[in-house]
Amino acid sequence: MDFRLTGDQRALQAGVRALLEGRFGRERLRAAVGKPGPGPNPPLDRALWRELGDAGFFALRLPAKDGGVGLGLPEAVLAFEEAGRALLPGPLVATHLAAGTLPGAATGESVVTWVDGELVEWLDAADCVLGPGNAAGAVPVRSVDPLTPLHRVPAGADGARAAPAPGAACRSEAAVAALLTAAEQLGSAARTTEAAVQYAGEREQFGRSIGAFQAVKQLCAQMLVRTEVTRSAVYGAAVTGDPVEIAGAKLLADDAAVRNARDCLQVHGGMGFTWEADVHLHLKRAWVRAERWPTAGEAADVLAGALL
């Protein structure tokens, strides 16, 4: 047993991080976010999408014989963790899952989304909509996350909840989608921890850095604990692929991403409440991901059932 990352895995992690820092750094992020308020949905950066495709982000788990990278779930989790850190927008999970099934998905030439319950992410930008649910008649929603345009499918058309991916392997595809979402949440939780620690070390109040105050230390330490416990859960689920363990990872990751973003905001005080600070982007995206299957209640039901 050696649960730690292999050298190759560390290299992959560093590579994806470098790619995203170069192609989707803070300036690009803020340009994509733009000003608040009503307006057309943010466009998807097709060039970046293809670069992700070139880098193997979508084809990561596709066998080499099918033109893929031939890696496994643990590697996909590492890549999606980095996407979560960077707040990378777009229907990443759906396109990743469609690689090998839909032409162009693996290379990033196509943008693929799916119907997950009542909501569809990035419908306008998508070349293809998957899922047994039906996006016909879907109406745009004023999305809370400025970087995730949402549509709502008409009442009654919903039926895709527990099977957000197509084909015969529905159940296991849904589990993989949940795991990759959990990985994104993990990346976000880790990022907001770092942001809180950095701010706590810099910001001075009452003549010293606020990170010297025990109350702030406690918040930051709890954020780290949440992140590291979640990391174990997500990586463990990636290795075993066990659906119950994946439900647990999603549950913990949703909680860590949301609570860490809130604690990060609390550490930042008023400054965290501004549009210019990134913390709200993490919180809003975390809320979006938490609504994907399985939600907290759905996950708890799965986990409870497995105890009997």
Partner: protein, 390 residues
């Protein structure tokens, strides 16, 4: 322990209710929340109505032009206006709740005569220039400088979190008139000025928050000239001048909000019933627990108001009692809107549901006006008597 209202109080309530029932249907439609001049006009018109009806400055002392109402009457006023769906205090907030009472308590007769009547009548709007980017929780570390030049101060610096700055006539401004040194502790050397917002050198920039709207502004002051006559209290005594009113709390600060939260909670239950999520026992019990929570917060409000009443209303309750309330309420409000998100389910991601922007706003409650972390310290040191840390 008596929760029944006196005949006088009941009479006050009945007359207010009657007046509200007549007044509210005649109001113009609510303005676009992004149109600040329209909001000012709407808010001050409502203040004028209150003024004409004799409800302006209800809690102000009579000698300042107010009604000298008891804390209980004030509670009734806030409860009834909220229940009736009347406009909020809005643009008149700083004038009525802070700048005005400060001038009433510490101003000269001339200053009172100049500034108080137009606050009550809605003719003049005030904003607050206290916080600075580097002076948040630690307000006393403010750096905006005022240098005396004959009979004016020349003010340079910047302020943040100023509401209604775009449309205010006056700003109650805290400035540093003596730099901090070994001899001058941070709470000394601060002075309170009334700054005209149309003075040259004042620049206001909207500050967008995570809700996506600009409820606040930043204010940049570049050699703004403020007459010395606009100073309330002594030079370097502005901290005391400000705190007298800032911690003057009669337990009524959150009356309207608690009433509104209780209404929201019932609306959540109805919505859950309608969309089927009422069948989720966990969610249902969460709503039940919030029912206990907000009922208790309403009783705590009545408790604090009764305490203020007993001291004649003049002294208010210690601001520390307000810390207990604020600590619990700010967390309860966040829990309320988290519950709202569970009632909405995926709909919680849609800003068109009012509860979603309200959920975003609720995040500021554990930060603004003293973070929970600082409030815990205040409670521990000032109420429980635990030693100061540092």
């Amino acid at each position: 322990m008596d929760l029944t209202y006196t005949e006088e109080e009941q009479d006050f309530r009945a007359r207010l209710r009657e007046w509200l029932a007549a007044a509210l249907p005649t109001l113009p439609p609510r303005p676009d929340p992004l149109d600040w001049p329209a909001r000012r006009a709407y808010d001050t018109a409502w203040q004028r109505r209150l003024y004409d009806a004799g409800y302006a400055g209800l809690h102000w002392p009579a000698d300042a032009g107010g009604r000298g109402a008891t804390p209980t009457q004030h509670l009734i006023f806030l409860e009834e206006t909220e229940l009736a769906g009347a406009p909020y205090v809005g643009a008149n907030f700083v004038g009525l709740l802070h700048a005005g009472p400060t001038i009433a308590a510490e101003g000269t007769p001339e200053q009172r005569a100049r500034w108080l009547p137009p606050i009550l009548s809605g003719d003049e709007v005030w904003c607050q220039g206290f916080s600075e980017p580097d002076a948040g929780s630690d307000l006393a570390s403010l750096r905006t400088r005022a240098v005396r030049d004959g009979d004016t101060y020349i003010v340079t610096g910047s302020k943040i979190w100023t509401s209604h700055a775009e449309v205010a006539d006056w700003c109650e401004l805290l400035v540093r008139t003596e730099p901090v040194s070994a001899a001058v502790p941070r709470h000394r050397g601060i002075t309170w000025l009334a700054m005209p917002m149309n003075a040259p050198g004042v620049t206001v920039r909207p500050l967008r928050t995570l809700t996506g709207t600009a409820e606040f502004a930043e204010m940049f002051l570049d050699e703004v000239r403020v007459p010395v006559a606009n100073r309330v209290g002594d030079e370097n005594d502005g901290w005391r001048v400000t705190m007298v009113t800032l911690f003057f709390e009669r337990g009524t600060a959150f009356v309207g909000e608690v009433v509104a939260c209780r209404r929201t909670l019932r609306a959540l239950a109805a919505a859950a019933r309608a969309n089927g999520r009422w069948d989720d026992q966990e969610l249902r019990r969460t709503l039940g627990r919030l029912n206990a929570e907000f009922t208790a917060l309403w009783r705590l409000t009545q408790w604090n108001v009764s305490a203020a009443q007993r001291t004649g209303g003049a002294q208010g309750v210690p601001g520390n009692g307000g810390s207990v309330f604020k600590l619990r309420y700010s967390h309860a409000r966040q829990e309320l809107y988290d519950a709202a998100a569970r009632v909405l389910g995926p709909g919680s991601l849609d800003l068109s549901h009012d509860w979603t922007p309200d959920r975003l706003s609720s995040l500021s409650y554990t930060i603004a006006a003293g973070t929970s972390q600082i409030q815990w310290n205040i409670v521990a040191e000032r109420i429980l008597g635990l030693p100061k840390g540092r």
